[in-house]
């Protein structure tokens, strides 16, 4: 069991800055994020995009902002549970939250701060009616272990790097048959991967279907066939053991929707006094919260984090007085 003072859900800019502000009050933090790396959207969606409204930075790349926030948080030794999704919460008899992730990792803390941004990133699922019936029965959105596909017939969909890279990898003596289906003629992704895929198709080592889309899945207990709609050739049925649709990630509010929090339009309602939610001990900061006048800006999230930790401190230590200490006077002393 991981014990901490503030359990932060979401390791984006807001969550990372919370570590710093909490650290100044000698509160320890642990962050949980469904993504395998810290930084949230900034790292996952737009690391190379410049941000122009961070005070004192006329321009900073989102990825660089994350690096600097990590550096700023470092003296306070935050813990991380990455690549796991915060799933359930319960209270123990000492009024502490027990939070369990989808992989069963347990965390314990008196305070939970939800800094979940847009929610957790999940694979984009094609809108095919009976698709869920075949999930883990031939339809996989993520390749965990390529050996799983040894000597199997595999169809991959998508036009990005992951679709190209896995096609190349699985075609190299792993799967017995690889078909790549892509909606357009052209591919994005690295030029050499695109070239490699074209070469493999020419050599007959993979089957390449462009201008085509998978529109149906079928089978008994396990996936057996997929239906492909080809722009010129019309519908065709392909035999396959697996279909791997690789269409990137999109954010979903996820399990926190079931935590008895007041939610409007996919955002958690908070009191702007301290960004507390309707559940005592749970706060929500950054893009995930909503209140009259809310602006989804990183800089507003920083402000919210700062006020939130003050309230968290008073909740943990109701008898202690809290004085605002300036870092210019006291410096920053880590743990």
């Amino acid at each position: 069991m991981i014990q901490t003072d503030i359990l932060i859900i979401g390791a984006g800019p807001c969550g990372l800055f919370t570590v710093f502000e909490a650290g100044l009050l000698k509160l320890r933090c642990h962050l949980i994020d469904a993504l395998p790396q810290p930084g949230g959207q900034c790292a996952e969606i737009y690391p190379k995009k410049p941000i122009y409204d961070i005070p004192a930075y006329p321009s900073i790349l989102a990825g660089d902002l994350v690096d600097r926030l990590m550096e700023q948080a470092e003296p306070f030794q935050p813990g991380f549970t990455l690549g796991e999704r915060a799933e359930t919460i319960e209270k123990d008899d000492e009024d502490q939250f027990i939070l369990t992730t989808n992989r069963g990792t347990k965390h314990r803390a008196p305070i939970i701060a939800i800094a979940g941004g847009l929610g957790c990133f999940e694979p984009r699922k094609p809108p095919i009616e009976n698709l869920t019936n075949f999930e883990d029965k031939g339809v996989e959105y993520i390749i965990k272990d390529p050996e799983f596909y040894r000597d199997k017939k595999v169809v991959i969909s998508g036009g990005g790097d992951s679709a190209l890279d896995w096609t190349i990898f699985l075609a190299d003596g792993v799967a017995s048959e690889v078909t790549l289906v892509h909606r357009r003629e052209g591919f994005r992704g690295h030029l050499d991967s695109v070239q490699k895929v074209m070469d493999l198709a020419e050599q007959g080592k993979i089957k390449l279907l462009t201008n085509a889309e998978v529109v149906g899945v079928d089978g008994d207990d396990h996936l057996q066939t997929i239906k492909v709609n080809h722009k010129q050739q019309g519908e065709m049925i392909l035999d396959t053991d697996h279909w791997i649709p690789l269409f990137g990630l999109s954010p979903k509010l996820g399990p926190i929707a079931d935590w008895n929090l007041n939610i409007t339009k996919n955002a958690v309602e908070v009191d702007t006094f301290d960004y507390s939610t309707n559940v005592p001990g749970i706060y929500a900061i950054g893009d995930i919260n909503t209140y009259p006048g809310k602006l989804k800006l990183i800089l507003c999230g920083f402000h919210e984090a700062t006020l939130m930790v003050q309230s968290a401190f008073k909740r943990i230590y109701p008898d202690k007085n809290l004085v605002l200490k300036y870092t210019t006077v006291n410096g920053v002393s880590g743990f």
Binding site: Q41, I45, Y46, K49, L118, R124, K125, P126, P127, G158, G159, G160, H182, R183, R184, R188, F247, G248, S250, P251, K296
Partner: protein, 106 residues
Amino acid sequence: MSMIKVTVIDREGTSHELDAPTDMGMNMMELCKSAELPVEGTCGGMAMCASCHVYVKSDHAIPEKSDDEEDMLDEAFHVMEESRLGCQIHLADDLDGLTVHLAPVG
């Protein structure tokens, strides 16, 4: 002219006629959001999420898709010939009378 009329047909088929300013650097996604239509605009307008996917129903000359927009539409679903990302449609005077249909979510 600094105002144009734009028609947005939502996913239930209801038509919304909106007045859109052309002197505020606004795009279609932002216009939908400001009218409280069900458009997420998750990525904030960077052509990186496809939550503002629309079908252009009128015959307006909208500037060609950028590579970013084309790439994002590759990962989206329900894509058709007239598909565009709302965030990449910049509201300008020559788009007066533009009609778009919100694409299904998912």
